[in-house]
Symmetry: C2
Amino acid sequence: MASINDNFLKLKAGYLFPEIGRRVAAYAEANPDKASQLIRCGIGDVTEPLPLAVREAMHKAVDELGCRDTFRGYGPEQGYDFLRKAVADNAYAGLDISADDIFVSDGSKCDTGNILDIFGKGNTIAITDPVYPVYVDTNVMIGNTGEADESGRYEGLVYLECNAENNFVPAIPEEKVDIVYLCYPNNPTGASATREQLQAWVDYALKNDTIILYDAAYEAFIQDPDVPKSIYEIEGAKNCALEFRSFSKNGGFTGVRCGYIVIPETVTGTSSTGEKVAIKKLWSRRTSTKFNGASYPVQRGAEAVYSEEGKKQVQELITHYMGNAKLLREACTEIGLKVFGGENAPYVWVACPEGVTSWDMFDKMLEEANVVITPGSGFGAAGEGYFRISAFNSRANVEEVCRRLKTHLA
Amino acid sequence: MASINDNFLKLKAGYLFPEIGRRVAAYAEANPDKASQLIRCGIGDVTEPLPLAVREAMHKAVDELGCRDTFRGYGPEQGYDFLRKAVADNAYAGLDISADDIFVSDGSKCDTGNILDIFGKGNTIAITDPVYPVYVDTNVMIGNTGEADESGRYEGLVYLECNAENNFVPAIPEEKVDIVYLCYPNNPTGASATREQLQAWVDYALKNDTIILYDAAYEAFIQDPDVPKSIYEIEGAKNCALEFRSFSKNGGFTGVRCGYIVIPETVTGTSSTGEKVAIKKLWSRRTSTKFNGASYPVQRGAEAVYSEEGKKQVQELITHYMGNAKLLREACTEIGLKVFGGENAPYVWVACPEGVTSWDMFDKMLEEANVVITPGSGFGAAGEGYFRISAFNSRANVEEVCRRLKTHLA
């Protein structure tokens, strides 16, 4: 009799986005005349074409696979050297990160979930609230939590509240945690963390032997030159932090799939006998055994993000989406809503009018404005009373959303 | 202080193929004049160009991503309907498997490792010996075993010996196991299982509430019309078996990355409270939370494997590799070696001459014939005294390998 992993039964009914999908589908079915008017600003999914440089590189790679002399089968599980080197040289120029520290994958969602494979049981794990739900659910699934309470908070996790008072960067906890997830620029709040705030977290981690899992999937959207783009800009981070990055949001790879983790040699965990073990060694072994490398044409596409043309085209995408964010911020502000984020991130985080819940707001926006947003409470108890608007859309759609906001919410 | 997953420390030094790579690199470095003569028949990696139909489909998909109207971002985590349907209609025609039972991934290596996420602790797990090392190592990593003994066998796993006497299909065990991995056509032995043998396993599974993890990655190489291509050809299998398949070996996707698991609704595991839970539901949830779908252009390429042109081109690849297998079988037989496999699988499994170990044979083949094979003992204790030759190569290389076998081993 095969037993199942009972931890799965602790998971709440739906991962946030499937639940949104369900409500939208139900509305569209009940109101077929409105279905074509729906504008989706819910899930943080890019909408603009894949950059030409990326497509050209992928075409070339596909052609190479058509010729015996240039055919490639299994690649190195950790990623091709050409891509690892391009990442180290471009994304980490001047930060003393080597190609060998870069582990290429098929995306950050997989990486942030799979990383738990290499950690032991019994770690105290901290997440922010609100938070990207994958961090929570993967900890539930692997058995790092107890049951959820009524607000959806799981026993055993440490929730670090993010709110308007702390600018959505959590205070350093008084207790000791073993692993903490931080994500800046933040999904869902669009907040960014200052150098001083990150330094305080790194100092805390070094003092407490904590590992920081730093999700920098949105770093490309940072406009303010004083905001750090990588945790490795912070003194000491190479001894305590892993960094997750993705080509999804800068290069438009949400359907193409490529990301990576940076793991400096100097980040260690502790075995049950007290031995220090390099996280990099464990992750490399995990990768060799459970992964077979990202698709070759995809890795060539990712490499092209760093070509001269690629950089220019990515910058145009960023400029486009951040222009959207600005319009959305302005429209929400104009109708009297309190707005956060959207300045160094593609997400605008908006406080619901007094007394309106996040899901109320979701339903109202869906039914009255025919705009799909994401309810803040879907990201955690502390997200209640907020909603997230994604700036990933065409300009025309964003302008229309702004008009509808003014019509239906003013 | 972050604790690590101590189970990783139980793993033997090297996954088999990295160790082979190390020895080959050392030899090539010490003998630079021989390096260019090396022929690799070790790792089971395809060598022939990706079929034209696949490349055309991938080109088209990349172009679609370049246009806003046809751009696709995040796809369904479980795979696009077009591919799930193509698989169900083609690979499972007449077997009552629906598109909804197909879960598309980035490859079978990932799937066979990741599937363990959804099972509980304390299951009795059986593997064959010899075996594809990933089944073993992923069980070690997740904590389903104790330490390894000197022969490399891990405490807690049930090893089902496969040898010449049982035609490399294990006898039904007397004890009860909860999960069993079966792989036919087999990697590494090249053996195939008859309908009667598989029926006996399914009957055993139904009687003991065992789940069969059936790896059919090599089904396309089956030549004998009486050999089952899918476990679902066996009565009762839909109540006890998952099937893993891949586009790696038929379509030449080892570098492109695509595979899938088939999970009928009727396969269940048991929760700690005795509740029957559909494995399909658990895997779907795992997929939604920890995966973001295989790359869109890759899924379009996989779909093209089932087009009229695609089928023809795949058949040509199969014919090519099976022609290689025939030559290798004949050459080994001619020099007096006892040969298995290679008739319904792309692997030829050869008994070493009396008294010669697998790694001795590996070194001899490397140093004298400059041919890289895989030592049988690398696949488990029962593989000692055998070696595997892969038929994945160009015809010219295979002919040269045959000549060298006759020169150096006759």
